[in-house]
């Protein structure tokens, strides 16, 4: 099953996915799409953990559980983030990140 694919490939995928997520975070103008890019970032990290666990240290399940916890936390985070986004929608009538800059300098 995993014999032929070297670990490095997984790392390449996860790093590219990670940086795509960051690119999304920095450029997308809509708050929810920023949330999506964060999910991408967390997913990249999960791949990393799982790959390491499987390839390097199969004797324990630390990477596996780390990913599990990350998924749970991502869920919690998404919930609170979306609650706040809805709240912003009520206050600002739009969820464009650029008009959320009343406080500056």
């Amino acid at each position: 099953m995993t014999g032929s694919i070297p670990l490095q490939y997984f790392l390449v995928i996860s790093t590219l996915m990670f940086f795509t997520g960051i690119y999304g975070f920095l450029t997308r103008k809509n708050l929810i799409t920023m949330l999506m890019s964060i999910e991408l970032i967390l997913n990249a990290v999960n791949i990393n953990f799982v790959a390491f666990n499987r390839y390097l240290y199969p004797q324990n399940l630390q990477g596996h559980f780390f990913t599990l916890i990350i998924i749970a936390i991502a869920a919690a985070e998404a919930a609170v983030a979306i609650a706040i986004i809805i709240n912003i929608y009520r206050n600002f009538r739009s969820i464009d990140v650029d008009n959320v800059d009343e406080m500056k300098f």
């Binding site: 099953m1 995993t2 694919i5 670990l7 490095q8 997984f10 790392l11 390449v12 995928i13 790093t15 590219l16 996915m17 990670f18 940086f19 795509t20 997520g21 960051i22 690119y23 920095l26 450029t27 997308r28 103008k29 799409t33 999506m36 890019s37 999910e39 991408l40 997913n43 999960n46 799982v50 390491f52 499987r54 390839y55 390097l56 240290y57 199969p58 004797q59 324990n60 399940l61 596996h64 559980f65 990913t67 599990l68 916890i69 998924i71 749970a72 936390i73 991502a74 869920a75 919690a76 998404a78 919930a79 609170v80 979306i82 609650a83 986004i85 809805i86 709240n87 969820i95 464009d96």
Partner: protein, 180 residues
């Protein structure tokens, strides 16, 4: 042999769809692309024989979070609305930073020689996962399991009080600009 093909296929799907999520004009379409990315990562877990994890990924991520996102998209903007794109300067600068970062990290990571541990592999069946979840000793994860419950409770309550709509609208309007 076919697992290699499967891996390349999945890797391609992940990369393509994540780039599409980040660059597509329509928000709803971006959400769908995100769904595809999550499903392909779950597939990768299957490949790596972490079946329990793949299942959790599918249900929580694909099922829960993406659905939540789609709901919030619908709540906050009608379907056909086109997301306004960042101005050229900002996207150019971020692209530059991201690419440089990616190259730097990749270059550093790939130069590191990973040393797999010598101990015998441990099967990762659901029973092992269960045992690890409730065991207290060295590699047991009972404590995180308990603490995550508090986190979810707190997140739940937080989300409710933030998103709750005041029953009587007046209170909302009156204090709106109190601190302006």
């Amino acid at each position: 042999m076919n697992s290699e093909v499967m891996f390349y296929l999945l890797a391609g799907m992940i990369l393509v769809f994540s780039v599409l999520t980040v660059t597509s004009r329509k928000i709803l379409r971006a959400a769908v692309y995100l769904l595809f990315v999550l499903i392909s990562t779950a597939a990768i877990y299957f490949m790596l024989e972490y079946t329990f994890l793949a299942a959790v990924q599918l249900t929580v991520y694909a099922g829960g979070i993406v659905v939540l996102i789609i709901f919030s998209v619908l709540l906050t903007s009608h379907i056909s609305e086109k997301a306004i794109m960042a101005d050229r300067r900002q996207s150019l600068m971020s692209a530059l930073a991201v690419v440089a970062g990616a190259l730097l990290t990749l270059f550093t990571i790939l130069r590191f020689t990973f040393t797999p541990s010598a101990e015998p592999a441990h099967t990762s069946t659901v029973t092992d996962v269960g045992n690890a979840l409730i065991s207290y000793d060295r590699n047991g994860f009972a404590l995180p399991f308990e603490v995550i419950s508090i986190l979810l409770l707190a997140a739940l309550i937080g989300a409710i009080i933030v998103a709750r709509k005041e029953k009587d609208g007046i209170v909302l309007m009156k204090n709106k600009n109190l601190s302006k």
